[in-house]
């Protein structure tokens, strides 16, 4: 596969670029649907990177992992969310957030810079093709954490968690492409279960608490504790 390598490296760079863009998109969008859409794009970018690294490093396990990821993340998880979270929550166009969008984007910029410097000392096992996965993956992790913290809506917080896992996976396949199959398979299934549980929890929250603006829930505090 030697003479395909530059092409594979380039395509992997493209996938990483799309990943980074969708991580920013998660922060820049106002709509719930937009969040889910960007999550789908991000997952597809991760799957593409998995396949490219699998071809380049000739690790067949990773192809299986990529297929499972392809089935679960862009397809099953949005379907689960639609099924268990009520339709009306998706039709809502505005998401409440702590900072306004331009400020969030500037914070995101700072986080991307931090990610580059954090990822510098980390080792890459996948060779030249994996070099770009590390900073972009760590950036995705940090941006996902920020999405989690800055958004108040239940579904977007969940998507923030998935963004963190996407970032971890993207960096992870470059660091350890030969992780045992059992462990690699566990990750997407874990995400599936999380989606299921949180989806149901969101619906229950909506029923009991009356709103899914979970960031604004503050009844459990020392001073103003209700019974």
């Amino acid at each position: 596969m030697g003479h395909f390598t530059p092409l594979l490296i380039s395509l992997n760079s493209l996938a990483a670029g799309v990943f980074l863009l969708s991580a920013f998109g998660l922060l820049a969008t106002r709509q719930m649907q937009g969040c889910v859409r960007f999550f789908r794009i991000q997952s597809l970018a991760v799957v593409a990177s998995i396949f490219l690294i699998a071809i380049e490093m000739q690790v067949s396990d990773l192809i299986a992992v990529g297929l499972v990821d392809l089935a679960i993340k862009p397809v099953l998880i949005p379907w689960l969310l639609r099924r268990y979270v009520r339709e009306e929550l998706f039709r809502r166009r505005e998401i409440e957030q702590v900072f306004n969008i331009p400020s969030s984007l500037i914070v995101a910029l700072a986080l991307t810079l931090t990610a580059y410097f954090l990822a510098a000392p980390l080792p890459v096992a996948a060779g030249a093709i994996g070099e770009i996965n590390l900073p972009v993956g760590v950036a995705g992790l940090l941006l996902g954490t920020y999405t989690l913290a800055a958004r108040r809506e239940a579904v977007t917080q969940l998507i923030g968690i998935f963004a963190i896992e996407n970032g971890s996976l993207l960096a992870g396949i470059a660091i350890a492409p030969r992780l045992p199959l059992v462990a690699e398979m566990a990750f997407p299934f874990d995400m599936l279960i999380i989606a299921l549980v949180i989806g149901i929890l969101t619906r229950i929250t909506h029923e009991r608490v009356g709103t899914t603006e979970v960031g604004a829930l503050k009844s459990l505090r020392e001073q103003g504790a209700a019974k």
Partner: protein, 480 residues
């Protein structure tokens, strides 16, 4: 082989609980599974303490000293919690909810039992994530708005922690590139000297932050008081007593690996993080208004104490750390059983609304008082001995400043807990007491209180030799 049986028993009980076979089948099946698992765990632990090797699948399912201790604790607390649930949850009218509770309970116990027997770090991560996920339904079980809010904060923060630590575990796998040892805890200790430092430190920090959120280390502890107070009491006992300990166990497994490199002083970090948690928790205890939250903050404090003890270094401090793990698990579960009994009696969680409990319900009052004294660390009970041994080893290791801080925080917490409990248990009978119909406490609850209380008293005076050997082997697991 016995390890696989231990882990699969609760699975079986979960399936049985799910089937609509009547109200009493689920609790009995759960209890039977937990008791059997506890007995098997005890045999395995004794085998390990005697120096034997217990394993089921080489390099995947093995048991060493530290793992044996944790397994034994999980099984024991699960048994007492199952016994307590029998009486406590009997109030639940709908059989379907009850069955779902027990099914989830068993799945939760299954995941918790899996963590100490697995030695491959990546599947350990999966098991810990499973414990988190199975706990969500249990925390939200009461279905009040507060319980649901608590469940939401719990799930988001802990799952986020898990997602962050994922990268840490993958980086840890990278270490196997540098030697010939398998990807297990002990294998990593062997590999550690040859691995580049940045690999291990970055993995450590990611896992510390991620799993630290799951343990409830400050500053990511905000979900813990909510979740551990809103859940039903037997679940709180499991959560506080063993689940947080389990996650801390995973963090503690990393300390010897990093120490084995000989190039980094990770103990200092452990002491700092531990002391911050102890300090903040101690001061938060002073201003608590809900007695279940009181015990939850005490959990944060004890997790900090254990982490600090592990960081103090040296065989004596490590022994103190595992001794504290043992005592905390037993005592904290007892505290929550007592809190559950009190809740059955007075039907309120607010400290301000409960007065003169000893008059309203002698059993609940005595239990609460006993539990509070025990967890605060008063002699001659178990927790006092372990905390004392930690402080003594700290002075022996010449970490004077850290030990002094630790002692100060523990004293602050001591007075906080006792102050609150004193007002609750003694004093003139409260307003609620007049209209309170004397509640007949379920027999199983009282039985659990007695059964759980005995070890606390016994361990304060006498340490059985096999247990001592087990603790020593567990302490070796912390040393590199």
């Amino acid at each position: 082989m016995s390890l696989l049986v231990i882990v699969s028993l609760p699975l079986l009980a979960a399936i049985i609980s799910w089937l609509p076979l009547g109200r009493q089948v689920a609790p009995i099946a759960t209890l039977a599974a937990c008791v059997t698992a506890a007995i098997l765990a005890l045999t395995d632990a004794m085998a390990v303490a005697a120096g034997g090797q217990v394993w089921a699948v080489r390099n995947w399912v093995e048991l060493d000293g530290l793992g044996a201790l944790i397994l034994l604790l999980v099984a024991t607390v699960a048994t007492t919690a199952a016994l307590f649930s029998w009486g406590y949850m009997a109030r639940e009218r709908e059989a379907r909810h009850l069955r779902r509770y027990y099914a989830n309970f068993n799945l939760f116990v299954f995941a918790m039992l899996a963590v100490p027997v697995l030695v491959e770090p990546a599947v350990v991560w999966t098991a810990v994530e499973l414990t988190t996920i199975f706990g969500v339904y249990l925390v939200a079980f009461e279905n009040t708005p507060e319980a649901v809010e608590a469940a939401w904060k719990y799930s988001v923060l802990t799952i986020m922690g898990g997602a962050m630590s994922l990268l840490g575990f993958i980086i840890l796998f990278r270490a196997t590139r540098f030697g010939a040892a398998p990807f297990t805890w002990s294998g990593l200790i062997v590999l550690a000297p040859k691995v580049p430092l940045n690999v291990l430190t970055s993995a450590f920090f990611l896992i510390l932050v991620g799993f630290g959120a799951k343990v409830g280390l400050v500053p990511l502890h905000t979900w813990l008081p909510d979740a551990h107070s809103q859940a039903p009491s037997p679940v709180c006992a499991l959560l506080s007593g063993v689940k947080t300990t389990l996650v801390l166990y995973v963090i503690l497994r990393l300390l010897p690996i990093l120490n084995a490199t000989g190039r980094i002083d990770v103990d200092r970090w452990a002491i700092v993080v531990g002391l911050v948690s102890v300090g903040i928790a101690a001061f938060l205890i002073l201003q608590v208004t809900d007695y279940k939250r009181l015990f939850a903050f005490s959990t944060v404090e004890h997790m900090g104490i254990i982490l600090t003890a592990a960081g103090l270094g040296g065989a004596a401090a490590h022994y103190g750390a595992v001794y504290q793990i043992l005592n905390h698990a037993l005592t904290k579960s007892f505290c929550f059983f007592a809190a559950g009994t009190a809740l059955l009696t007075v039907d309120t969680r607010q400290i301000a609304e409960v007065r003169g409990l000893i008059r309203t319900s002698p059993a609940a009052g005595a239990a609460l008082l006993f539990g509070g004294i025990a967890i605060a660390g008063a002699p001659p009970l178990a927790v006092f001995l372990s905390e004392f041994s930690i402080l003594r080893s700290g002075i022996q290791q010449e970490h004077y400043f850290a030990t002094a801080l630790l002692a100060a925080f523990v004293i602050v917490a001591f007075f906080g807990i006792l102050g609150h409990l004193n007002r609750m248990v003694f004093g003139p009978a409260a307003l609620k007491a007049d209209q309170a119909v004397p509640v007949r406490l379920p027999m199983t609850c009282l039985l659990t209180l007695v059964l759980a209380g005995i070890p606390i008293v016994v361990l304060g005076i006498y340490m059985p030799a096999p247990l001592h050997r087990l603790l020593q082997m567990a302490a070796q697991g912390l040393a590199s």
